[in-house]
Every structure is written in C-alpha cells, then in structure tokens.
C-alpha cells in the first residue's frame, strides 16, 4: 500500500528526489521490469527483418585501423586448475566439445581446428559500456563446425560453455556462458577465433578459442570456450536468460 502510494506520488511529481526514488522502485518492480524488457522484442524483431544468416556483413576495417590497446574486459585469466594445466602446454591437450542436439558429437583439438578452412577479418568490437576497439581475428566459421556435427531439427540455439568463473561461485552459477540463435551462428563472420592480430589468441582475450559475433556487442562474444552445445531452449541453463550477463539483467539480443 505504502509502496503503491509512493510510486503514484512519484509518477505525479515527475521530477525531483521523490520521483527518483520512484524510478528506482519501478526499476526493481517485476511487472514494470517486464514492460521495459519488452522493448528488446522490438529491437530483435526490427533487426531480424533486415539481418539474416548470410547478409549483411559487419564492416571490415584496414590493418591501419587496428587498436594499439585493445582492452581485455571481464575475466583476463581463468583461475581454475584445469585451465592452468591446458595453458601450460599452449592448449595442446584442448578438446573442444560440440554436442547437445547434434547427430555427430565432435571433440576437436586446437590443431585440428586450425587445420580447417579459416576466415580472417578486421572488425570493430563494441563493448556494452560504450567503447570500441578494432582487432583482426582468425578462426574457423562456426557454421562449418555445426555442419560437421549435423544439427538435429529441434536445435534452435547454440550455447557456449566457458572456462572462466567470473563470479567465483562454488556451484558453477558464476561460470561464463553465452547463447546465440542459428541466424547468427551460421553468419559467415561468426567464427571461433584462435588468433588475434596475427598472433595466437592471448589469454586475456580468451585463449584458446573465443566466439566472434560481429553484429552484436562484446559480451556475446564468449571467451575461453570449452564446449559448444546445441539446445532447443536455454531456460534450464544458468538462471535461464541465455548468458552470464543476461542472467544479470542485460539483453539476450545485444544488437544495440
């Protein structure tokens, strides 16, 4: 009741301190949150009208545009023992698993991945925080990997399971993960990158493999990817929103 009155009073005033606490309350009100979040459907729907799985490509830049200092955001070194062991041998023992709703589950070494046809692109990385950096990425198109694994008809999303425990959780709820739909998964610029600016992918940028989804924001581009899983929906993964940051309030479709 009090809460209700406060919100109404705040809405009537429209400005000033009271209204601000009103906005804070609205911001945490579940119904209002749902209303605000509904705008994501418009952004996704609007962009899906014009962005499909083959075109358009994100703008590619020149060698001279590459950022001298490309910020490594989020985790800069996963601290699990498993990851350290892999890193000691330059990931020679890595087995990237591709499983879930696929007919032929795969387990690939880094050498096997590097032997596949690759794509190199110089693209702009836009962080949700607002900054942009330009880097060159080389990797294997995700679509090729998925084609080899043969997706089952009910596969709708591709989930990326990562080695970094960003929230240092005991139960694994802080482990980084991400998901994209098949339109983005089969886009020609969507690659599992193992090289950056002509060098093996550095640990701060996600060694041994990071996802690049060039028409979305940085947090979609999972680093330290260990497993790629095809799923029908992601409601039972993490807190059910489709990614580490999505579980913490960010949009699943990060196209803006």
């Amino acid at each position: 009741m009090t809460r209700d009155l406060l919100t109404r009073r705040a809405a009537l005033l429209g400005a000033g301190g009271l209204a601000l606490s009103g906005c804070d309350q609205l911001s945490q009100n579940q119904t209002f949150k749902k209303l605000l979040e509904s705008a994501e459907n418009l952004s996704l729907g609007g962009q899906r009208l014009v962005l499909n799985s083959s075109t358009p490509l994100a703008l590619e830049y020149q060698q001279s545009d590459i950022s001298r200092d490309f910020k490594a955001n989020g985790t800069v070194k996963p601290d699990s023992a498993d990851y350290s062991r892999l890193a000691m041998t330059q990931f020679a023992d890595l087995r990237l698993k591709i499983d879930g709703l696929v007919k032929k589950p795969l387990s690939l070494s880094l050498d096997e991945i590097k032997a596949m046809p690759s794509r190199t692109q110089i693209t702009r990385h836009d962080c949700v925080e607002g900054w942009s950096a330009i880097g060159q990425w080389t990797g294997v198109p995700l679509g090729n990997l998925l084609q080899s694994a043969e997706l089952m008809p009910n596969a709708k999303y591709i989930v990326f399971r990562c080695a970094d425990d960003l929230e240092q959780s005991r139960d694994g709820s802080g482990l980084y993960y991400e998901s994209i739909d098949l339109i983005d998964a089969f886009h020609p610029q969507t690659i599992m990158a193992y090289a950056m600016n002509g060098q093996p992918l550095p640990v701060p940028h996600g060694a041994p493999l990071r996802l690049r989804v060039e028409r979305q924001l940085g947090y979609k581009m999972a680093k330290y990817v260990m497993r790629i899983e095809a799923v029908e929906d992601f409601a039972k993964i993490g807190f059910g929103k489709g990614g580490y940051w999505e579980d913490r309030g960010y949009e699943w479709y990060a196209g803006i």
């Binding site: 949150k33 014009v50 607002g130 803006i256």
Partner: protein, 296 residues
C-alpha cells in the same frame, strides 16, 4: 476596414484556428490540437527519462572519443573522472579537450544519497536508476527510445498530413524579413499581442523546426549508429557521423542542445504567462492578449 476584411479572408483560407470569447471578453484561440498535446506530453516523459537513463549509460564509460574507435587509453574529447587525494579526499575532474575543470561535488566525485563520497561521472540525482546499473539504465533507455521514435513518427505524419508544419511552423518570407525585429523583441522580453500573438513568431518557428527536423532526428540516427547490428545494414550511418565513437559524441552533444532548447522553452513559458501557456498545452485554448490601448 477593407484591409481588415481582406486579412480575415486570408486567415480563414489558411485554416485559422477556432476562436471563442471568455466571459470577460478575452479572445481564446484553439492553438494545440489534441494530437499535438498528446504527442507533446509523451515527448516530455520520453525525453526526461531518455536523458537521465542516457547519463547512466554514459557513466559506464565516462569518456567521449572522436572517430571510428576509442577506449580508456585512447584520446578523448571529454572525460569525467575522480582522483583520490593522499588525505583521503577526492577531486572530481571534467576534462574537455586538454582543459581540466575541477567539478568536485557535481561531476566525477560527489556525495551520494547517504552522504558518502562516490566516484562516478554523473551524480545519482540525475541518473536512472539513481544507483549504478548499466543493465537497468539500458532497459529504460531502449524502452523509451522506442516510444519516443514511434511517437515522433506519428507526429511527423500528422504534422504534414494536417498541414500543421506548413501552416503553423514554416516561416513565411515576411517572417524571415522581420527576423531582426523578432530578435530585438525577444531580447527585451516583449511578447506579441493581438493578431501577432495568434501565430508563432519567427524565432519560435525556427526553434521548433530545428528541434523537430534536426535535433531529434540527429538523436535517433546517432543513437542507431552505435548499434553494431544497424551498422552492418546501414554502413552509410558510420560515414555520415564519422564513425561509431563520433556518433556517440554527437549523440551527447545533440542531447545537450536539446536540454538548452528545453531550458529556453521553459523560460519563455514562464515569461509569457505560465497559466495561459499551461492551459493551451493541456486544453488547447490559448488566450490572446489584446493590443495595448496606448497604441491607439
């Protein structure tokens, strides 16, 4: 007398507003249609919330760059930051170009709601939400950006179809010739009476036209240019604004101009009669002040 009749005819032909008299004999004209009033107030809501949630988003990377890229270690045209002092205090700096200004208390370093020193760019009382949350700020921003864009689109269609732009906002040749006099009137805070008060004056028309056709569209397009998805389908936006980071800077500068317009707009409302102006934007009816009798 003949001239008067002729003028009246022209006024009627041009779609002059409905007129009625108050009991005290004052002339009321129907200045704002329901559609204009409705879109105006939706705009008020959207712009206020967009500005405040926009500052929340800015706080996540409190720097502005020029060009295609830019991050923490790249050159900035504007940056706001706090600097800890040895004695435990802190200074808030706002750096524009090469010049740093001490903005402690307002920008960079300020006391939060509970009185503790806080090191963010824009203070709690001007951001939505008041606490730091990029995720929630973005949710507010994009919801009201959609509402703002759809509202603006509806207004544009109405404005042309109902000839609101052509009739009420487009300056006439005569208007433009008298721009100097209008400027003087504004500087002396003299507001038109009688016939002249029934129309917008030329500076008013130009200000509204600039906001409607320049500033607000610039806001939408510079905002869209920050979207990697939109950039892939419309790379010309990047050329238009000179890159994503330039677009972000232009988004911020344009917002500043919109704030300036709103301040002038509100001052004019106060100076020209707040009751009458509020009645006209709420009910549509605007009272025309009679010509001064000493002019006869």
């Amino acid at each position: 007398m003949a001239v008067d009749i002729a003028n009246q005819k022209i006024a009627v032909q041009a779609g002059a507003p409905a007129v009625r008299k108050t009991r005290s004999g004052r002339e009321l004209i129907y200045r704002h249609t329901l559609f204009v009033r409705l879109t105006h107030w939706i705009n008020v809501l959207c712009i206020a919330l967009l500005l405040m949630s926009g500052l929340q988003i800015f706080n996540a990377h409190p720097m502005l760059h020029w060009g295609i890229k830019g991050g923490d270690t790249d050159p900035a045209v504007l940056s706001i930051y706090g600097e800890d002092q040895l004695d435990g205090s802190a200074i808030g700096w706002t750096k524009i170009g090469g010049q740093a200004f001490n903005t402690t208390g307002v920008l960079g370093v300020f006391r939060d709601r509970d009185g503790f020193l806080s090191g963010r760019a824009f203070p709690w009382w001007i951001t939505i939400p008041s606490y730091q949350s990029l995720a929630e700020g973005r949710r507010w921003h994009f919801f009201f950006a959609w509402l703002f864009a759809l509202n603006g689109l509806a207004y544009l269609i109405y404005g042309f179809a109902a000839r609101h732009f052509q009739r009420d906002l487009a300056p006439t040749r005569l208007d433009l010739r008298n721009i100097g006099r209008s400027l003087l009137d504004h500087l002396r805070f003299r507001h038109p009476r009688g016939e002249a008060a029934k129309r917008y004056n030329v500076l008013q028309k130009l200000a509204y036209m600039t906001v409607i056709f320049v500033l607000l569209p610039l806001m939408i397009f510079s905002g869209l240019t920050m979207s990697p998805g939109v950039d892939s389908v419309a790379p010309w936006l990047l050329d238009l604004f000179g890159g994503r980071q330039s677009a972000r800077t232009i988004h911020f500068i344009t917002a500043t101009f919109i704030v300036l317009f709103i301040l002038v707009h509100l001052v004019e409302v106060l100076l020209s009669g707040v009751f009458n102006e509020m009645r006209s934007i709420l009910t549509g009816w605007f009272a025309v002040k009679p010509e001064k009798t000493d002019a006869h």
